[in-house]
């Protein structure tokens, strides 16, 4: 068998050598390195033999390799000979000719490398590449293998219904990774499975045979059945738990203890022990450990040397895999009770596998930032950037001085900037040829100093430069519509000075700024008597502050009383013209601080029963009231609207924010409904969402008509606590979506292993030679070794290093025991 020691070097890029050259191999494709790497397909295994083009000799090896092409193809492994040519330098192509290696890739990930002398004939090639997954058909074969490996190695025995189906593939893939550590045995015979006492024989089975521990050859190997379905990930997790120590003794706070089990999502069971009963407790614990193998980690907790207190009568401590859940102290006097407690409380995390990436798991190298990912995917599309003026250090000042300009400050490498740049270009497209405002942009990655001088320290930032005014930062949504509105509304300056009653009426009716009320559905008119100086100033300040968001005007002529009388407003006052509804409201101005006026106006912009959209939710959200949302597939039914507006007027809904959501305009609303309902009742649906305290969601019974009486009744029941919520919104914090590379551990590992690492003493002769040869060029690689052992992804936070360390330890053992 292939020495385990070599596994350790997987992934280390060595110089690749070859002395053989045979020009007339037929079925063995010959490729250049570049060509070869371009043919690699994700998930597909491929064996490549790197040859120097000028190698003079023909070889037995190439003949054997040629013969191995077909059998390996049956396992879906392609074989190729790669000719290293001078023009294409691959790191697998070496300079020296006395080392020869073949490499096994999965996709384009290097799995293993083989010195060619270990691949001495076609069988050796196939066996090594497949890691000797032994195929057997009867019980005798199994027993023979079992006997042969007692005291030496463990066996992974699996039954699959047929070769080539996904379960088979999963086993083979596990064998790729663990084939040097465990003997993989495979059968498709139901009879064999039955004969070892399995039930439910219609499904695939995988057993772990604990043969290594068996010293007495007459003894049977213990078996652990994997209970999860046969997928690569499940097998991987299962093998990991098999590798973990059966029983660990601890003397620390169970809350703090963490083992590989927790990281794999398995609970921990602590058997509490004291000195007096230690031996018996240990036996019990071992017994429990065997029963729970693969389901939970079992530890022996030494109460006497424990610093924290645990309840006196507790003999079992149960720790769930979920973080932050307190441990449970239990009194269980029967082993079976312990087992059943664990089995009933086990939380098996369902990790979904992706078909194409079943070896990968959640990959921390995969972009999970939607903005970054979409911008990246869109990077090759050409934007009509020429519609905006690109500024530089030289042109910036001259440009913004010469004309009214909007400047987008962005950074070419920042995703949010680049996403917004698209909207910005859309604005330019829409405004093309119509606006006096010059649309410009400056890339702060190039013109860092300009941006700093303009006080821009984050991206993206939009500023408006107008002659004689201080630059104004845009504070609205980073999207086409809102920015367009801002630019359009800024065509005039605010507040507009209205000089006659007639003009005021035109202003209020929307006639005066016909083309602007598209962008601001409300016009505000401040009414002041000519003497109210400070009030006028404050209003002007507020109007200026709101410029670009809402139209404001001011009227303070001598005849202002005519207006105030007409609209029943005592001075100073605001008139609010809602153009869509054709209504004019008046609001008295009690306080005249600019800030208060801004607040009054922004509050007044809110509607009583708005259609909630992605754009306007934040304005309603900040009211901190539960949302009463009517989900409607299309425009809201006028009767429902009427009913709710009636309730609003009757003050039934003061403590809520009533609104409706049009799924046609806001398709993401379906995602919301799906979070609330399962199954989804027919629309329309009226829902009360307590967003700010508790997160409960209540649904108005869908069998009731949405009429005032029913609503009132429902609200009363709600108030009385008689309604049950249909769901509670998760209160989960936003934690890091995935772990980061733990470089500190890697550095530590490298430091500690450089000191302790020794070459296993009993190695195969070829290994020793090879090792000698490689020593000098290996220098740089030594540092890398412990980490790159497995290029399989790290499943858990900080587990990466442990994984490597373990396999290192394993390799050391195997270097001695498994050589044959």
């Amino acid at each position: 068998m292939f020495s385990g020691f070599n596994v350790f070097r997987v992934g280390i890029s060595f110089v690749i050598m070859c002395i053989f050259y045979m020009p007339t191999v037929n079925s063995l494709p010959e490729l250049s390195p570049q060509k070869y790497f371009s043919t690699l397909q994700p998930g597909k295994a491929s064996l490549a033999y790197f040859c120097q083009a000028d190698s003079p000799r023909t070889s037995v090896f190439l003949e054997e390799l040629n013969e191995a092409v077909r059998p390996l193809q049956d396992y879906g492994i392609s074989v190729a000979k790669v000719n290293c040519v001078k023009e294409e330098i691959s790191r697998y192509c070496g300079k020296e000719k006395d080392l020869m290696k073949a490499y096994l890739f999965k996709g384009n990930i290097l799995l293993r490398e083989f010195p060619t002398d270990t691949l001495f004939d076609v069988n050796a090639i196939v066996a090594h590449v497949l890691f000797e997954v032994k195929y057997i058909t009867n019980l005798e074969d199994l027993q023979n293998i079992e006997n042969a490996l007692k005291g030496k190695a463990n066996i992974i025995f699996s039954y699959v219904r047929a070769i080539g189906i996904p379960e088979h593939r999963a086993v083979m893939e596990a064998a790729f990774v663990y084939g040097t550590t465990y003997q993989f045995v495979l059968t498709t015979e139901i009879a064999l499975l039955e004969s070892i006492g399995s039930e439910d024989v219609e499904y695939a089975h995988l057993y772990f045979f604990h043969c290594k521990l068996v010293l007495d050859l007459t003894q049977q190997c213990r078996r652990t059945l994997m209970e999860q379905p046969l997928t690569t990930l499940n097998i991987h997790l299962f093998i990991k738990t098999m590798k973990a120590p059966l029983l660990t003794e601890v003397a620390e706070d169970p809350q703090q203890v963490s083992t590989v089990h927790l990281q794999l999502g398995l609970p921990l069971v602590f058997i509490v022990s004291q000195q007096a009963t230690y031996e018996a407790d240990r036996r019990t614990a071992e017994w429990v450990a065997w029963r729970l193998l693969g389901k939970a980690g079992v530890l022996l907790l030494l109460r006497d040397s424990l610093e924290v207190n645990i309840p006196q009568d507790a003999n079992v401590v149960f720790k769930r895999a979920e973080e932050g859940v307190p441990v449970e102290f239990l009194v269980l006097h029967d082993v079976d009770l312990i087992i059943s407690h664990v089995e009933n409380n086990m939380h098996i995390e369902e990790i979904q596998e992706d078909e194409d990436n079943d070896m990968e798991g959640p990959d921390i190298d995969v972009q999970d930032d939607e903005v970054a990912e979409t911008v990246f995917r869109d990077r090759k599309r050409k934007l009509p950037l020429e519609l905006t003026v690109e500024l530089t250090e030289e042109t910036f000042n001259a440009t913004v001085m010469a004309s009214d300009s909007i400047v987008l400050f962005y950074a070419g490498w920042q995703a949010v900037s680049m996403a917004f740049l698209q909207s910005y270009i859309d604005v330019a497209v829409k405004l093309k040829g119509t606006s006096t405002m010059l649309l410009t942009r400056i890339n702060c990655a190039d013109w860092s100093d300009v941006c700093t001088k303009q006080n821009v320290t984050e991206f993206p930032i939009i500023k408006m430069y107008k002659k004689g005014e201080n630059p104004v930062s845009y504070a609205g949504m980073l999207g086409t519509e809102d920015l367009l509105k801002f630019i359009q509304l800024n065509r005039i300056s605010y507040p507009v000075n209205i000089t006659s009653i007639q003009e005021a009426e035109e202003y209020l009716s929307g006639e005066l700024y016909k083309d602007l009320i598209l962008y601001s559905s409300v016009s505000v008119l401040g009414l002041f008597s000519p003497t109210m100086k400070t009030a006028k100033e404050d209003f002007s300040e507020a109007g200026n502050y709101l410029k670009g968001y809402v139209i404001t005007g001011i009227y303070s002529e001598e005849d202002v009383l005519l207006l105030s009388t007409k609209y029943a407003a005592s001075l100073p006052a605001l008139l609010l013209a809602r153009h869509t509804e054709g209504k004019i409201e008046s609001i008295p101005l009690a306080s005249t601080h600019a800030q208060d006026i801004v607040q009054i106006i922004t509050d007044a912009l809110l509607e009583m029963f708005p259609e909630i959209t992605v754009e306007n939710l934040p304005s309603y959200f900040r009211l901190q009231k539960p949302l009463l949302i009517l989900f409607s597939d299309g425009t809201v039914n006028p009767q429902y609207k009427k009913a709710i507006l009636t309730l609003v007027k009757q003050k039934y809904l003061d403590s809520f924010t009533p609104c409706w959501l049009n799924l046609k305009n806001t398709p993401v609303g379906r995602g919301i409904l799906r979070a609330y309902f399962d199954p989804l009742p027919p629309l329309p649906l009226l829902v009360l969402v307590n967003l700010h305290s508790g997160g409960q969601v209540f649904a108005f019974p869908s069998d009731q008509a949405i009429i005032e009486e029913n609503l009132v009744l429902w609200l009363k029941k709600l108030e009385a606590g008689l309604e049950n919520h249909i769901t509670i919104l998760p209160a989960q914090e936003w934690k890091p979506p995935l772990p980061a590379y733990d470089f500190l551990s890697m550095i530590d590992a490298a430091t500690s292993q450089r000191g302790t690492r020794k070459v296993p003493k009993c190695m195969k002769e070829t290994d020793v030679q090879e090792n000698d040869k490689e020593q000098h060029e290996d220098k740089s690689a030594v540092r890398k070794e412990p980490i790159e052992t497995l290029r399989i992804k790290h499943w858990n936070r900080s587990n990466w290093f442990k994984e490597a360390e373990k396999s290192f330890r394993r390799d050391k053992e195997l270097g001695c025991s498994k050589v044959n």
Binding site: S90, R91, N108, D356, E360, P362, D363, I364, D365, V366, D368, E370, A372, T374, V375, F376, D378, T392, W413, F420, Q422, D426, C444, A445, D446, W447, S448, T457, E458, A475, M477, G479, T480, V614, L617, P618, F621, I629, L663, K664, R670, G671, L680, L683, L691, P730, A731, Q732, E733, K735, P736, P737, L738, Y741, D742, F743, M746, I747, I787, E788
Partner: protein, 685 residues
């Protein structure tokens, strides 16, 4: 012109004061800040003091700035690069490759306007420094040689004492803070029998004609030795170079003070079997003897001791008499000493306790990492003489390095004496990744003064915001709060640039195969200069942590560390290769989710979760959400990062399909395990 402008300004008042005050001797003129020397470092400090509106004066012995450069380097070629083109517009970035300019706000004062040569002429430096002082109107008192510096204790003084400077005319100046920027001005001499026969670099002829047909021995192996050799290589019989240690090549050590490739022509000819050669021996063990023909012989000193004379070479036994293949058996016509320079300690009174450093840094005064003298508070060493802080490590002994350390010293003093906290930008946490990416890609101070100056990010409570401090001397990290006036209560990041730990060194093969790593997971093994981010949950203030940090660690052991993988173009903006791993690191340090989201996603979260990610909180909920465009929206659906919620295709008017038959909600954007993107195979070979 500049000269005549400066002289009338400073000449007469100085003279008048001298006349007026000399008899009184009581109240010498007092300055808050005095700078000794109008070389690059002195002018750089003067610039910052001037911009801050401080009371200062610069004293310069010569009539113009940069007098060192009027004579040195002897062969007039500066070996600091003047890279005028980088293909980039970013002025800050371009300073990474401009080794001659001083820092200023005036783009005209960039060295590239003064020379077109990649290795410029020293005269251009003199001209540049003169313009720098004149254009910025720096207050320099020329022709003022400070002959003596002493201390005067005074409780009222900022530092408990004043520095008393006496010039050549006996004029006294009193200073609260003293900056010594006098460089290294004393040629280093090694004492051995016959050392008097050696000509010094400072005075040796630079005319190759004087060396025609001669055998030349050069003592020393620095840039000045090789520069001298280079000049005469073509006319001599041979040149032998002798020094204690093996030659250190700057491309192997990544230290610009070591032998630069531009000067190493002799190495080339030595290794290509011409007659020139390198020899290693300790100079103090040797003796040079002169024979009757006036030629010089090299011999170990003990031969001389045995003979008990120090007579001419003809009378004593030489090594070649016993050992006929002794390397230096040929007599030399000339011996040239090029052994470097030392700091001039002579003008400083003992009371200042300005001492030289340890054996390694004997030529430098002993200072702290804050550039303040260990002997007296308020005395700072700037420029070349301050190189003991990073000798053979970074660029602090050179213009392109000390222009930043000078700024750091200025910032420290602004806080110490004027209550101006260290400048910082406060930003929301959503800008954290970007602000780091921005700096590592453009900051020149970090790049030039790698390992010495580092950016520091101080987190605010609950990690919702942070303060970004630039170019803090990292060896002073433990005193960060007192030195900067900022609080580091809630954890901090330090952004440092580093070479691989075992990459640089005089005997290292820096061109070995696989010297660079490409995989993000191997980033910690990066060899070329790359950004490293340290995270500390608490400011490491303990003596233990700071002083006894692990060997070869520039900083105390952090809670977590991140290396941004080295980049061939030093452009660390790759979305997957650089920014993504950085974000993951920051997220895991702060235990939060730093992804950015479109408004639509924030909307969904706002109505289906009780908590929102920071990006939605700080953007969307403040009505500044990011709206996606149509084409980006399509990519979102394709990337499976967002589900298409429209029942049939995107936002179609007619929807006949039922909602119920869609798969259950499992938005990959949700916190927790994440579904895979389809084409995630970004592994490389």
């Amino acid at each position: 012109m500049g000269l005549s402008a400066a002289a009338p300004l400073w000449g007469p008042p100085g003279l008048l004061l001298a006349i007026a005050l000399h008899p009184a001797l009581s109240v010498p003129p007092r300055r808050d800040y005095c700078v000794l020397g109008a070389g690059p470092a002195g002018l750089q400090m003067a610039y910052f003091l001037q911009r801050a509106g401080r009371d200062y004066a610069v004293f310069e012995r010569a009539p113009r700035p940069g007098s060192f450069f009027t004579r040195y380097p002897r062969h007039r070629k500066l070996i600091s690069i003047n890279k005028r083109y980088t293909g980039k517009a970013n002025a800050e970035f371009n300073l990474r490759h401009d080794w001659n300019s001083l820092l200023s706000h005036d783009p005209r004062l960039l060295f590239r306007h003064y020379s077109r040569a990649y290795f410029p002429d020293a005269r251009d430096m003199v001209r540049y420094l003169g313009d720098f002082a004149d254009t910025l109107g720096l207050r320099v008192q020329y022709n003022t040689t400070i002959a003596h510096v002493t201390l005067d204790k005074d409780r009222q003084a900022w530092n408990g004492h004043y520095f008393i400077l006496t010039d050549q005319k006996g004029q006294v100046h009193q200073c609260s803070v003293l900056f010594v920027a006098t460089g290294l001005s004393v040629p280093n001499q090694v004492d051995f029998p016959g050392s008097e026969y050696a000509e010094g670099y400072e005075s040796v002829s630079v005319d190759p004609e004087d060396f025609v047909g001669q055998n030349v021995l050069i003592l020393g192996r620095g840039n000045s030795a090789f520069e001298t050799a280079e000049n005469i290589l073509g006319v001599t019989n041979f040149i032998h170079m002798l020094s204690r240690s093996r030659v250190r090549l700057s491309w192997a050590t990544h230290y610009v003070g070591d032998l630069r490739a531009i000067n190493n022509g002799l190495l080339d000819t030595y290794q290509l079997k011409s007659l020139d050669g390198l020899l290693e021996s300790d100079l103090t063990d040797l003796a040079i003897l002169k024979d009757s023909k006036g030629k010089f012989h090299v011999t170990p000193k003990f031969f001389l001791e045995e003979a008990n004379t120090n007579q001419s070479a003809d009378s004593i036994t030489l090594p070649q008499d016993d050992n006929d293949n002794f390397a230096m058996r040929v007599p030399y016509d000339r011996v040239i000493r090029c052994l470097g320079w030392n700091f001039d300690f002579s003008i400083f009174n003992k009371s200042l306790r300005l001492n030289s450093g340890n054996a390694f840094g004997k030529k430098y005064p002993l200072i702290r990492a804050s550039y303040e003298s260990k002997g007296s508070r308020g005395l700072f060493i700037l420029g070349t003489a301050s190189h003991s802080v990073d000798y053979r490590k970074s660029a602090g002994g050179f213009i392109h390095g000390f222009r930043y350390t000078v700024r750091a010293v200025h910032r420290l003093l602004e806080h110490r004496h004027h209550s101006v906290t260290w400048p910082a930008t406060e930003l929301p946490i959503t800008q954290l990744t970007s602000s780091i990416v921005r700096r590592v890609n453009e900051a020149s101070g970090l790049y030039q003064m790698f390992g010495v100056l580092a950016d520091v990010i101080l987190l605010k409570e609950n990690s919702t915001a942070f303060e970004y401090l630039e170019e803090f001397p990292i060896q002073m990290l433990a005193q960060l709060e007192t030195l900067t006036g900022r609080k580091a209560k809630h954890g901090l990041f330090v952004i440092n640039m580093e070479y691989g730990r075992n990459f640089s060194g005089p005997d290292k093969d820096v061109f070995f195969d696989d010297r660079s790593v490409g995989h993000t997971e191997d980033a910690w093994q990066s060899n070329f200069l790359h950004p490293v981010i340290y995270y500390y949950r608490y400011l490491p203030t303990g003596e233990q942590e700071v002083r006894f940090r692990p060997a070869h660690w520039p900083l105390p052991r952090p809670t977590a560390i991140h290396h941004i993988v080295e980049d061939f173009l030093t452009d660390w903006t790759a979305p997957i290769g650089h920014i993504l791993p950085l974000r993951r690191f920051l997220e895991n340090c702060l235990d939060t989710d730093l992804r950015s989201f479109y408004a639509e996603s924030c909307f969904l979260f706002a109505l289906t979760r009780q908590k929102l990610p920071p990006f939605c909180q700080q953007g969307y909920l403040r009505m500044q959400g990011l709206v996606s465009t149509e084409s980006l929206w399509q990519h979102r659906v394709e990337s499976r990062l967002l589900r298409d919620y429209a029942p049939t295709g995107r936002r179609l008017e007619d929807s006949s399909q039922q909602l119920g038959d869609q798969e259950p909600l499992g938005s990959p954007l949700a916190p927790g395990p994440l579904a895979q993107s389809v084409d995630s195979n970004k592994e490389e070979l």
